[in-house]
Symmetry: C2
Subunit: 437 residues, 2 copies
């Protein structure tokens, strides 16, 4: 079966999360978790579902960009695409006219992610496997053939990538069995959004501890005294043995980041996430160096826009935790490159998730990372946020604070049609209701 | 007069330059020079004109993004905006929902540039001055108040910026007089696009030499033997004393860039422009270091997406020529920050121009740079391409290979309404005709 793609539809789906301050942080005070949601139709009847995550306003721009990319996808068969996936990736990202709008960054790259996520979903469905299993079963040469090595060969060549994958074949089956049994360790960001009251924090933290969570992330960066109070509160709640991370969402300049985080060292955070501009590689390196004596690492990646940026963050030891994102980078293809570079530099990957659909998507990538690349769980964990999973046909399954490997075929980001209809912007019932208020 | 902005219109204007290979390079083989063209209407009747440059396909995405930003502009008065221009810049670039799409990069930043370019045009018209003169006459404190220093204070504080501007006040009038008399030196990129035949190259070069041009740029990067032949030809045509630059438009990885350019060292290029990914700060630094013994500098910037990236390029000596772009960065506001940082690091600014409207716009910025910041012409020149100027109401004036300071009020990017109508995509006559073919 060739599965010729005969149609691409994209819809603007928004959830009014800002009403209750879910997702609020120092830079994004009122996000409405949203998605540009793509469906690929094929002549065989099989469909592919993909999305990219957004924060509300501006989703219409990503939708427009996806429509502009559609012409490069519709008319091609799945077979044709995956038999030269590197070429297809290059086609989407390096069109002689369109690349001016990036290249490989911002709106156009978010759009690329949505389209490619749908293609990977389609491929996994065609093979009747969950995406992680499709990847795990792929020949290393086939995996490597999906990656565009342009601009990263000074750090990782195709041969080196292949070598990493070949070496990790040892005990692979054992790790797959372990994952199926135990799942991949997760941490919890649902307890401490910036807009939550102390009362809410306490209640959510108590509940999470009861549910077996041991790793917690707190949003900081708006007000130092407030941060100290909130972080002490959480540390008190979770005790000295559990893990605490803090996240500033790019609020500071370099010097401010160092002094602010130094003041929070008393609560012993494992990492400070996004201390400054996601573009500031050298800034992150300076912050890493200054905070190392305090035992605090730097984590970043959810707004790191492509493999060239990750390459440099790794080259100058600007981060101690690599936070890949399933919708910011060019889908699985580009994330594979980052997983392999992180492995080469011996930096653990701790994916960004949350939003809408990000947990569903990225769990596949981190399972592949453990089974086929890193073979290591030390200092590794995948973000989890307990929101909006009910809108997916195959929502994530968390057991004992671990992601259990998905079993349904595909990339887990098909949404319930009823949810899509209700939340389509601006015509869905949820938004018509908001506008009446 | 407050000049309240009551309407923003944006149009997709495209010129079919690909038909004759104008603008062709190693990565952009068939550009149709285009613009998302903005007009601001005010209650006083005064208008502001702005644009951002694109390469054809995808302009509709930028148009969509400008429409999404319009709500932040319409309803505000010019007075309100410029009395807190830093705040307004921050409003456009840091909206809690929209910034996810960048931040400050790609489509959303190109859209920001178009909108802010129109605001600056409006301001200059309101003051009945060409933009460069508005800037030159501004109090240094007022200039500095237009800049968002977020994420660059580790390299340039507001106080340092003010200090640079205060120091350059000496002999300012003399430099202004000099510019009005002699103009600002330019170099020529019209002769050697990659798609041109050797015959065309020779003819254009002969003509340009007759017109007094002494500095020439050649596109390279597609084929080494071809590059050697073309570069030798041009060097032979212009002789040993004139200046030759080469431009690879991001074609290479780091090692390839070094070996390829080393092979072209015999033609003594002043710089290699965009040897690799615009995001690869460390890559540019490695290339700079390797080519320095050959006397070849590295130039980049036309796709450097914001001040944070320029900051780092300067921090690690990754470039020897800073190529600001009037439409890639957040308009005058962000370019001011880059001019001041470049001055601090003693790196000359040689603006990117060409496309459509880029020469018209950037000449204002480089005049300000010379008169109020650098006070230096050594190793400095502004790109010039002889295309599409006839579509503007105040086209650039070149005399003896120099940009003569514009005299009309505004930022020089108002297009002839007849040109806009004819080239609007897809409904303009030019495109209706193409589609019939």
């Amino acid at each position: 079966m060739l599965h010729k793609i005969i149609n691409l539809t994209v819809r603007d789906v928004r959830f009014p999360t800002s009403l209750e301050q879910h997702g609020s942080d120092a830079m994004h005070t009122d996000p409405d978790y949203s998605a540009a949601y793509v469906v690929l139709d094929t002549d065989s009847g099989l469909k592919g579902f993909g999305l990219t995550f957004t924060l509300g306003k501006g989703t219409e721009i990503v939708v427009c960009a996806i429509q502009s990319l559609a012409g490069l996808v519709v008319g091609k068969s799945l077979q044709e695409i995956v038999s030269n996936f590197r070429g297809f990736y290059r086609l989407l990202t390096s069109d002689g006219q369109m690349r001016w709008l990036g290249p490989e960054k911002g709106v156009i790259h978010l759009a690329t992610a949505a389209v490619l996520n749908a293609v990977w979903d389609l491929w996994a469905r065609a093979e009747s496997k969950p995406l992680w299993k499709l990847l795990v079963d792929m020949d290393p040469k086939a995996v490597v053939s999906c990656i565009d090595f342009r601009y990263i060969t000074d750090v990782l060549t195709e041969e080196e990538a292949l070598d990493i994958l070949m070496k990790a074949r040892e005990d692979k089956q054992q790790r797959e069995d372990q994952m199926l049994k135990e799942g991949y360790p997760a941490y919890n960001t649902s307890c401490a959004w910036l807009g939550y009251s102390d009362q809410q924090l306490k209640q959510l933290c108590t509940d999470a501890l009861k549910d077996g969570w041991t790793k917690f992330k707190v949003k900081v960066g708006a007000d130092l005294d407030d941060d100290i109070r909130r972080c002490r509160l959480i540390r008190q709640m979770i005790g000295p043995r559990n893990t605490l991370m803090i996240d500033a969402n790019q609020r500071w300049d370099v010097a401010e980041a160092i002094s602010w985080v130094s003041r929070l060292a008393e609560v012993k955070p494992l990492w400070i996430e996004e201390p400054t501009s996601p573009d500031d590689i050298l800034g992150h390196a300076a912050i890493s160096k200054a905070l190392a004596p305090l035992g605090i690492g730097v984590a970043t990646g959810e707004q790191c826009h492509n493999r060239v940026m990750f390459k440099q963050l790794l080259q100058v030891s600007a981060l101690q935790f690599v936070q890949i994102d399933s919708c910011r980078l060019g889908s699985v293809n580009e994330n594979l490159a980052v997983l392999l570079m992180a492995h080469k530099f011996k930096v653990p990957v701790c994916p960004h998730a949350g939003g809408v659909g990000l947990c569903e998507l990225v769990q596949h990538l981190i399972l592949f990372d453990y089974i086929c690349v890193s073979a290591n769980l030390s200092n590794r964990m995948c973000e989890y946020v307990d929101h909006l999973h009910e809108h997916f046909t195959s929502p994530v399954v968390i057991q004992n604070a671990c992601y259990m490997p998905p079993k349904d075929p595909g990339y887990s980001c098909e949404m319930l049609e009823s949810s899509v209809k209700k939340h389509q912007y601006p015509e869905g019932d949820v938004w018509k209701l908001q506008m009446k208020k």
